[in-house]
């Protein structure tokens, strides 16, 4: 075990939290915000759909999927940057599981 400087550990938490807030904000925009303004958006057409319908049926879901993959990818990069080595073999029973 090696000690991590408090500032480095805090930076890690802050960076991850900031990114999560950004992702969630994007998620809220493509779902709640679009629904809120659905009537106003319905005059715009996209690929044969009224825009509000397209966002509900496809746009929001696609955005969510992309956000999750971006998060997984970027988080791995951040972990690397902070020198975290993911062990190849971590068994299912690692962590503080209780005896059953």
């Amino acid at each position: 075990m090696k000690k991590v400087e408090k500032k480095v550990a805090d930076d890690y938490f802050k960076l991850r939290t900031t990114l999560i807030i950004i992702y969630l904000a994007v998620g809220v925009c493509v779902s709640y915000l679009v629904v809120f303004f659905a009537r106003d958006l319905s005059s715009i057409t996209f690929n044969g759909f009224p825009l509000h319908y397209y966002m509900g049926a496809q746009g929001a879901v696609l955005t969510f999927i992309i956000l999750l993959f971006v998060n997984a990818f970027v988080s791995d990069k951040i972990d690397q940057k902070f020198g975290i080595r993911t062990e190849e073999k971590t068994s299912i029973s690692s962590g503080k599981t209780l005896d059953q």
Partner: protein, 554 residues
């Protein structure tokens, strides 16, 4: 017995054989040091397993029908059920994975250091999973009813026997790989008909790209007939109901015990993040197709069935009329079936679609097998949650800590059988459409687990009395609102029973925060454990300092 019955039945039997075979195969491997070899479920396959666990009869059978009947307003289900994975993967799953317990009530009991909180969480797990399984049984009733051409109630009873047997047997081990197989069966079954319909109607094999054109034509048909327009928002309910329902489904997703448990099967927080991403990609395949189904089916019904002579209807209508889920009556006696005279249940749209589009008996059989895979895999996950809550969290940890392994297993098995039978009895006369019943389960989860887990992970000051107050308040408010809205006609801003979660979650969060602040703060040990969740698996927080593994631990 006609050939349709034989083909469907044969496909269902073949897929069941596959699932049982996989379960047995994995069991054999486990005895040969499967776990000791240190292998874990790879994130891609865990994503598929989460997908099968997640996509229930409501997603498979009910969702496209809900959208077909509700139009734009039905899309709240699509956005809510997928958006929940953002909350789950960003805010809860990796942290819960690091804390490392076997069940959600166990996490709540240990994080909040309260036996009472664990018991309340166990009871809430049972209520939520039970409500959810009513929807599953009601769904398998629709499938079996059509297959045997009997009333849905009889189909439901057959489903009860099947699911009780399957869960008690399959609830043992090797379920991950069984669910991977179930995912593949259900997604293939879902995609084939919609791809063929897309080819038939638009000559384009990509339904996701082609159905915009059909939606455009539907708009014109709607205007000619002068009926409620398909794409116009908020015709079925208010804007606030749409938003409340979407929130309920999102928060409920993040708090469903049987889904969270799947994140415990991976090894690290990193794997939990990737599992969440893969899971939503696999789920997205079905959820992006459901609105295409809805548009195509509605188009065929309006264009080809409505307007035909009443004594010259396609053969498939008779079979569905027999199940009691479809009514076609020439009310004005002009010999022609009008659009308004077709009354179709939300729950049969997907199952009837291959017949409506005349796709042949093999595809219809495949649909039946896929629907059973969806109902079975979710019911299996739910029944394991119920049985774990009863046998582990309540019986073993509170009533009889000296119980032998065999005795706990017996309690678990019997609780599965009893829960399935009781849920089946309720499902005989379901209190709502499948998606609606399932939405209630989500309203209860968003009132109880979502706030308890969210604050448990992100706010170290939250304590035992706080979470008890939160869960009890959230559960009561959600339940009270569902009953008041469904049976008493009480609504706020036009929000009906399915949107109850927004009130449950808000009340629970407020109660948790207020009571926590009024009572003693948690012990230093608990607060340290919560701070520890901020850092990845490889970092440990101890006495105000953070340590990282550097490979010297051996």
């Amino acid at each position: 017995m006609d050939s349709q019955f034989l083909v469907s039945f044969g496909l269902i039997l073949a897929t069941f054989g596959l699932y049982i075979g996989i379960a047995l195969f994995n069991k054999a491997k486990q005895t040969s040091d499967f776990y000791v070899a240190g292998r874990s479920v790879p994130a891609v396959f865990n994503g598929m397993a989460i997908g099968a666990d997640w996509m229930s009869a409501a997603s498979f059978i009910g969702m496209a029908g809900t959208i077909m009947i509700m139009g734009y307003d039905g899309l709240a289900y699509i956005m809510g059920w997928t958006g929940g994975y953002l909350l789950l993967t960003f805010l809860l799953a990796p942290q819960l994975r690091k804390y490392g317990r076997y069940t959600v009530p166990e996490f709540i009991g240990d994080r909040y250091q309260s036996n009472a909180a664990r018991l309340i969480a166990a009871v809430a797990t049972i209520i939520i999973s039970f409500t959810y399984s009513i929807g599953q049984l009601s769904g398998s009733g629709v499938v079996i009813g059509r297959l045997l051409e009997v009333d849905v109630a009889i189909g439901t009873m057959v489903g009860v026997v099947l699911i009780a047997f399957y869960s008690a047997l399959g609830g043992m081990k090797g379920i991950t790989w069984t669910q991977v197989a179930q995912y593949l069966v259900l997604i293939i079954a879902y995609l084939i008909p919609v791809i063929f319909m897309s080819l038939q109607l638009t000559s384009n094999p990509m339904p996701w790209l082609s159905y915009g054109q059909i939606v455009g034509e539907l708009q014109e048909l709607d205007q000619q007939l002068g009926i409620t327009e398909y794409v116009v928002p908020f015709t079925e309910a208010t804007k606030w109901q749409f938003l409340a329902l979407m929130f309920t489904l999102m928060a409920g997703t993040a708090g469903l015990p049987h889904v969270i448990v799947r994140f415990y099967t991976v090894a690290t927080m990193k794997a939990a993040r990737w599992s969440g991403a893969w899971a939503l990609l696999f789920i997205g395949l079905l959820y992006l197709s459901a609105p295409a189904y809805a548009a195509f089916s509605r188009f065929i019904l309006m264009d080809q069935v409505a307007g035909s002579a009443i004594n010259n209807l396609p053969a498939w209508t008779t079979a569905w009329v027999d199940t009691g889920q479809l009514s076609v009556a020439d009310q004005n006696g002009d010999g022609v079936l009008q659009w308004a005279e077709i009354v179709i249940s939300k729950d049969i749209v997907v199952m009837a679609t291959p017949e409506i589009a005349n796709l042949g008996i093999f595809v219809i059989g495949l649909m039946a097998a896929g629907a059973m895979a969806a109902a079975l895999s979710t019911a299996g996950g739910l029944m394991i949650s119920i049985s774990a809550a009863l046998s582990h969290d309540i019986y073993y940890r509170s009533i009889n800590p000296n119980a032998s392994e065999a005795r706990r297993l017996a309690v678990g098995r019997w609780s599965i059988v009893i829960a399935t039978v009781v849920a089946g009895l309720v499902a005989l006369n379901p209190p709502g459409a499948i998606t609606q019943i399932v939405a209630w389960a989500f309203a209860l989860a968003s009132g109880t687990f979502f706030p308890a887990l969210l604050l448990g992970v992100w706010w170290k000051r939250s304590n035992g009395p706080g979470v008890i107050a939160g869960m009890v308040t959230g559960l009561s408010v959600s339940l009270a609102y569902i009953f008041a809205a469904k049976y008493g006609g009480f609504t706020i801003l036009g929000i009906v029973d399915t949107g109850a979660g927004v009130f449950g979650a808000t009340a629970a969060i407020i109660a948790n925060i207020v009571v926590s602040l009024l009572t003693k703060e948690p012990t230093q040990k608990v607060q340290d454990e919560v701070i520890d969740l901020r850092y990845p698996e490889e970092m440990t927080y101890k006495d105000g300092e953070v340590w990282i593994k550097d490979g010297t631990e051996g």
